[in-house]
Amino acid sequence: MTSSPKDRRYTKEHEWARLGDGEAMVGITDFAQEQLGDLVYFDLPEPGAQVRQHAKLGEVESVKAVSEIYAPLSGEVIEVNQKAMDSPELVNQDPYGEGWLLKVRPADASEMDSLLSAEDYDALVATAEGGQH
């Protein structure tokens, strides 16, 4: 398992958030896409929708199952990555780059502090993988 990018923070449910200038980018982690398998569909809120940290943000469907995505931050959705919606394989190929899902205008940027660091998230994933083998 390669280590997760350190320029962002993570949830226990395998989402990431990266804070930029007045906006945060949100996606799912490499571990999440690997576990889910080939992704085929996303159900995400429209721009303008309000999301709440740790509440259900939307759903992701893979060839195996449908799973819920939780919001790493509270705020207003300002953009959905249409390219990823049209080509879900982008999220499989590049979950931390081209395969981002949403941009959110954070209601409270300090919420980032409650998320996991890359090191802590990697440790969590290592435990999860260890438990499965």
Partner: protein
């Protein structure tokens, strides 16, 4: 068929077969006066329908039919589906003209035999489940679930209670969640504990006055009997909620334990699973609902009752939720289930569950060295393995499933339940011989060895099927929903 022909059958439609101008029938000369077409413009010549000779058509469809895989052609261990063999006698009985030729609108005094069968079947199913009343109306298992929850909702509303949540353990059938949403409730998942039972602490935390019901699959989708069931029933009832049993896995319990005695208020049964009625090709099925007395007045109509003079009549329960389908349910399926119950009798039904459980545990014992067992317990009618050991070698459960096709078996259910990593859910049913189970185990053990030594063989399977590995992701991302001519595609 040669291998080439089989591949051809798997990929080439009737379009493009035959030759222009070829026909399957020769019509006699017209012996009536010709008339003008009222609107000649309605005639189209742009439909490129296949033009084939009769033997070409017959061979095309016969060969296509030969590609089918069914319980009649081989072992079909699809978990949670109870793909048991269906005795052919039941087909004969369902085709008796008194059953097959009746019309749902014909005068009731002319169909007393059919109603007597329904009335008796209601009684048998009530006896088997330990419940008080049965509705035969639902047309499938999930339809029975929805009927059950709507019945519970009507009961609670009648009592003036407004409850909004339904609890569903994470080891339940996936349809339960859809049932809850469709019935207008909020769905709350409940975790399983380390033994595969419902986690009592999680249940206690979720239970409050806003909970309408707990939907418990028994045995659950891990093939395990919930050892906390008596305590669960007590906890649920203390808050005034109803306890619902998803009875799709009743094959494990027939004649062993009555659902009603465990404290459940309502259960749906899948006749097309447990009671050996065909369920290939999507149906028809039947999902009767059995309830305790307090829920009986809310069941859907019609209910078959008996008048004082002994005549059978259709009745509507006092506070019925109304109709859940057209007419009286899938009657042909009821005939087959009735025949199954009558031909086996109580001792035979008990042997069904004994052998179903024995066969699943035989598979568990034969395969546990090669595949990980997520819960260290004996199973009931089905066993769930995890392919996590194989995944460490870069082989996924879907690869194991595809490789089984090369060995001539229908793959088991995969990736369900979701709480088991790389799940392989195997339900052998009671109708398989030890030789068949041994042949299946042998194939599974060979595949486990192949995963170690030649993983690519699995990743590129199937090798011997009419079509090779299909791209499921592309099919879901870019579905092709109808055939189009090449020049129009």
């Amino acid at each position: 068929m040669s291998d080439g022909e089989r591949r051809d059958m798997g990929s080439k439609l009737s379009f493009g077969r035959g030759r222009p101008g070829r026909t399957a029938v020769t019509l006699p000369d017209c012996d009536v006066p010709l008339a003008e077409m009222p609107s000649p413009s309605l005639l189209r010549d742009d439909l490129p329908l296949p033009e084939m000779s009769q033997p070409e058509i017959v061979r095309y469809f016969t060969n296509l039919a030969c590609l089918n895989y069914s319980v009649d052609t081989g072992f079909y261990p699809l978990g949670s589906c109870s793909m048991k063999y269906n005795p052919k006698l039941h087909e004969d009985l369902a085709r008796l003209s008194g059953f097959a030729q009746v019309h749902p609108l014909q005068p009731i005094e002319t169909v007393q035999g059919a109603l007597a069968l329904m009335h008796e079947l209601q009684g048998f199913l009530a006896e088997i489940t330990g419940m008080h009343a049965v509705s035969l109306a639902p047309a499938a298992g999930a339809h029975g679930e929805l009927t059950s929850i709507l019945t519970v909702r009507a009961y609670l509303e009648h009592r003036g209670e407004s409850r909004h949540k339904v609890l569903v353990p994470d080891s339940a059938h996936g349809t339960n969640l859809a049932t809850v949403s469709t019935a207008g409730f909020q769905c709350l998942p409940i975790a399983s504990d380390a033994r595969g039972n419902t986690d009592l602490a999680a249940l206690a935390e979720a239970l409050d006055e806003d909970v309408a019901a707990l939907m418990l699959t028994l045995p659950n989708t891990l093939g395990l009997f919930d050892q906390n069931i008596v305590q669960i029933a007590q906890m649920v009832h203390e808050t005034g909620a109803q306890l619902y049993c998803d009875g799709a896995n009743l094959n494990a319990l027939l004649g062993q334990v009555k659902i009603g005695d465990l404290g459940f208020d309502v259960v749906q049964m899948n006749l097309h699973k447990t009671f050996s009625t065909p369920h290939g090709g999507g149906g028809p099925g039947a999902g009767p609902v059995a309830v305790k007395a307090h829920l009986a007045p809310f069941l859907p109509s019609p209910f078959v009752g008996q008048a004082a003079n002994g005549a059978y009549v259709f009745e509507e329960p006092e506070h019925s939720i109304g109709k859940v389908g057209a007419f009286h349910g899938n009657f042909g399926i009821m005939v087959r289930a009735y025949a199954y119950i009558r031909s086996l009798g109580a001792p035979g039904l008990r042997e069904v569950s004994e052998n179903a459980v024995l066969n699943a545990n035989y598979l568990l014992a034969c395969l546990r060295e090669a595949y990980d067992l997520p819960y260290e317990r004996r199973c009931l009618h089905e066993v769930v393995f995890s392919g996590s050991r194989q995944r460490a070698k870069g082989v996924h459960t879907s690869d194991v499933a595809k490789r089984l096709i090369d060995y001539g078996f229908h793959p088991p259910t995969v990736y369900f339940p979701l709480i088991v990593d790389e799940a392989l859910m195997i339900e052998p049913t009671e109708t398989e011989s030890k030789e068949t189970l041994d042949a299946f185990c042998e194939a599974m053990l060979v595949i486990a060895r192949e995963a170690e030594e030649e993983p690519e063989l699995l990743r590129s399977a199937p090798h011997d099927a009419p079509l090779r590995r299909l791209d499921e992701a592309a099919a879901a991302r870019h579905p092709v929903l109808r055939w189009q001519r090449e020049d129009q595609a």
